[in-house]
């Protein structure tokens, strides 16, 4: 049997690794990858709670999170492609036209 605290630890570790990735990296593509890590951490916690509480709701919520991750990835890639076509770079430090 898997103790619930180990599942929480794994989920929180993945979540914060992804958060650090989003904040630290300057490459737009790697930032989107780190977002996927965040969503994976959430999914681990949801699946673990569903397993722990004997409820199918954990898996159902995790399926909705996966759906949202797919939508986010598709729109994010469209934005990256559009931005790259305009600017020929994907460094976020160049993304400062609205700075004022």
């Amino acid at each position: 049997m898997v103790p619930i605290n180990a599942v929480f630890a794994l989920g929180i570790a993945l979540f914060f690794l992804g958060l650090f990735g989003v904040l630290l990296r300057k490459n737009l593509v790697v930032m989107l990858m780190s977002l996927e890590l965040v969503l994976n951490g959430i999914n681990v916690i949801l699946a673990g709670l569903g397993f722990h509480l004997r409820s199918p709701r954990g898996s159902i919520f995790a399926i909705f999170v996966v759906l949202m991750a797919v939508a986010e990835a598709a729109v994010g890639f469209a934005l990256i492609l559009s931005y790259f076509r305009r600017k020929k770079t994907y460094d976020i430090d160049k993304l400062n036209e609205l700075k004022g």
Binding site: M1, V2, I4, N5, A6, V7, F8, L10, I12, A13, L14, F16, L17, G18, L19, F20, G21, L23, L24, K26, N27, V29, M33, S34, E36, L37, N40, N43, A47, G48, F51, H52, L53, R54, P56, R57, G58, S59, I60, A62, I63, V66, M68, A69, V70, A71, A73, A74, V75, F77, A78, L79, I80, L81, S82, R85, R86, T89, Y90, D91
Partner: protein, 167 residues
Amino acid sequence: MTFAIFLLFALMAVFSAVMVITRKNAMHSVLYLAFTVLSVAGVFFTLQAEYLGAIQILVYGGGIVVLYIFVIIIVNLDEVVPGRRKLMPKVFIFAWPALLALQVGFLFLLNRPVPREGPEGGLEFRAMAEMLFTSYALPFEIASVLLLAVLIGAVLVAKRRLSRGSD
């Protein structure tokens, strides 16, 4: 025994997640991301969420990772110019997640773990399907509308504007 397998997959997932955010080459990051995704699928299997594990392998491993690889091939990788950050953004970047992690840790230390409910044994696959298509039928349909909107929106945003001729 299940816990040993869980620990193996969890260590693999955490290791490759660290590699995702530390590699300089984005293509290496994508390959480590695929490794993380498959390890998390293994974690789902040890948690008896078989449907979720299959979805993870099919959608993440088969769809999203391939999409990342295509995007990295399309946008040229060579011109990554790592500039230096100033002190205040650096402090903010490290302090804010650390404070958040501290808060989450305190919440876990202060609260008792929830007791297990129900009998031992595998989750009912049928129960999940019935709940998904009865109690959660409306969110399911809304999700399908969301996917349609994403399909149209992604095509609209990413296509070249031929009529304007400004690019």
